[in-house]
Amino acid sequence: MGLKDVIKYEFSYLFHHNWKLALILLGLPILYSLLFGFAYNGNIVKNIPTLIYDQDQSATSSALIRSFADSERYTIVAQVLSQEAMEEKLQDGEAIVAIIIPPSFAHDIKLGKSSQVLLTINSANIMFSNAILGSVQEIVQSFSVGAGQKSVEGLSQLPSQALSTVAPIRLGVRVLHNPTFSYSNFMLAGLATNGLQIAIMISICGILAREFANFALWRNTSSLTLIAGKIVPYWLCSIFSFITSLSITIIFFEVPFRGDIASLLLLGCIFTFTIITVGLFFSAIAPNTISAVQLPMLYIMPSYLFSGYSWPTLAMNDFSRGFSAILPITYAADCIRDILLAGYSPVLLTNLATLLAFAAVFLVLALVIFSLRRKKTLQALDGEVSL
């Protein structure tokens, strides 16, 4: 049988005999994109439950509390009257952060003594602490500058002059590509890529393993034709899944798409092809279909977190960097996010070349191992027949 027949056979296997595989390959990435899109729909952590322990109860302390209440990051859930009550509420999880204003807060400011606002944060979940650290300095500093300005005006300086006296250096921050610190912009592209590779892996890895029991059918077909014919339907479906899952994150969950479609598509095509060859390799070495599905877990589960997509490569030690370097997703996920958010990726070409090199290695390995095992099985079959 020729290449066309193998392709036809595999298509009909995928969509007719074992339609669940097609469902996984086409449906799972869509499901993942939708699910994770909903999970991160809030985009930023806001309305953090906040406690106020105002020991001063003055107009000045109220003004400071108002600046917290005005920020969408904080929602004041209770005012407490003692340290114990505050700690109890923090421990009970009623609030994540407590703002403590010391007694004689207003008085000290007037007298020209520094006064300290104290924040107590429960940082078991870093998401909250990050959101608080990113906003609290700004709030307290603006308040301090306002108070300082008034105090210096008392030294007979003009208001504008007083302002520059107390805040002589300012910080201008420009956050490129994701200025709102949106979590869905940060996470969704990577989760979609990971979802896609999970779908490809778990649907393809039985592909060669099942043929070992089926060789009589392919006696006159070369291993290369067989593998090429099997790749085509999976590749086409994977590219389709790549397009649909990213389209969902872009259209429904408003992840920006600033790059050009051609680069994205090219990367998608080569990445899916590489993952297919990795799946083929696992399938070729697995003793049976069950192991063929379970072996790739070794690759799938840690690969996303080691890809440098969330925990960056620059913060990895040598072991992690080495491990990260041998995972194909390392060369795709971060790059896809760059194309979406920044509009370009400086490492696109090198990544494409690396992925192609991976694909070539895995394809050759899969082909050689498959051919050898096939030869052995056929010899055993012939032996049985001649007996």
């Binding site: 429960n122 107390v166 979590y183 649907s203 599905v293 589960m301 840690p302 969330s310």
Partner: protein, 381 residues
Amino acid sequence: MNWRYVLTREIKQLFLQDPKRAMYLFGACALYILLFGLLYGPHVISAVPIAIYDEDQTSVSRSVIQAFDDSERYQIIAYAASREELEGLLHEKQVQATITIPIDFSRNIKTGHSPSVLVDVNGTNLIISNSVLSSAQEIIQVLSSKAATMKLASTGQLPEQAFHKAIPVTLGMRILSNSTLSYLDFFVLGLAMAALQQGIFLAVGASMIYEYQNLHELQEVPTFQVIAGKLLPYWFFGTLSFIMALALSSLAFHVPLKGDYTSLLALGTVFSFTATALASVIAATCQDEVSFTQFSLAYTVPAFIFSGYTWPQHAMDTLSMIISSTFPLTYFADTVRSLMITGHAPALQNNILILLLIGSTLLIISTLLYSNKRNSLLLSK
């Protein structure tokens, strides 16, 4: 034959006949702790590569650069000679952030024009941009305070007085439970618990599917005794694996272990029970071990993301909250971390009750499904 026979037979299968089940049960979790303990070993982001563009070239601007250089958060890898060169470095991702000190910076401070130090940061990776933003604010505030104090002191105020006038309100922070904001303490436990769930799933799945494919072997044992005898070892060894995981994370990677052992053990026992029961129900609906494994692989990532372990439930919308509440991991992972690193978990009792409820319901369903399948097989015979 009774449940004791089934139990002994199961333990033999688990360790001798099909040892990959034992490997999943004990190995998945331990492997995760080792892998991610190594990955998050640096704890926090440091040495973020940055580039400096100093248009001012004065002693004041150099003190700004010195402050960034002194912070372990940053590593200055280039000094740009022009705006274009600086942007090029950021564009090529050779640096993650750039610091620009504008022309006349030092003079503008003296003349009271409050110049800005400009920080441009690549925002694509939030972990980097968050850490750059908060530390840059801190650095600039310290510098600004110093400059303000000096300026006021020059008007004849005593230095201490000048400081208080310039910075009337300071910010003090007490970060409880994970004071260094270590990613290792934050992340590894949850990943290990997701792997524990996966390990229990695969082991129980293999066991139950074997039983469904060989229903005749135990046809003389009453249904409930089969289920009890089969699942007890997984429940027990699942709990043991949980204990080993906590010990490993605490001993090898120094994740704090502040909670009391009874609460942790109670929670682990109940979760192991629920995960075992859930796996046995899923196994009853799967054709073979292949489809079970496929399901379990597809299940793990959403279960982790929706568990509220990283992205808090607090920030989810109603739909996501509902989805989140259907995963047993939601009642487990966050509570384990809370117990481990803060020493208490307000939702502990609630979560144990919910897990017990889900687990018991699933166990009943699993028994019914098994009995149903066995009866129909016996009838057909």
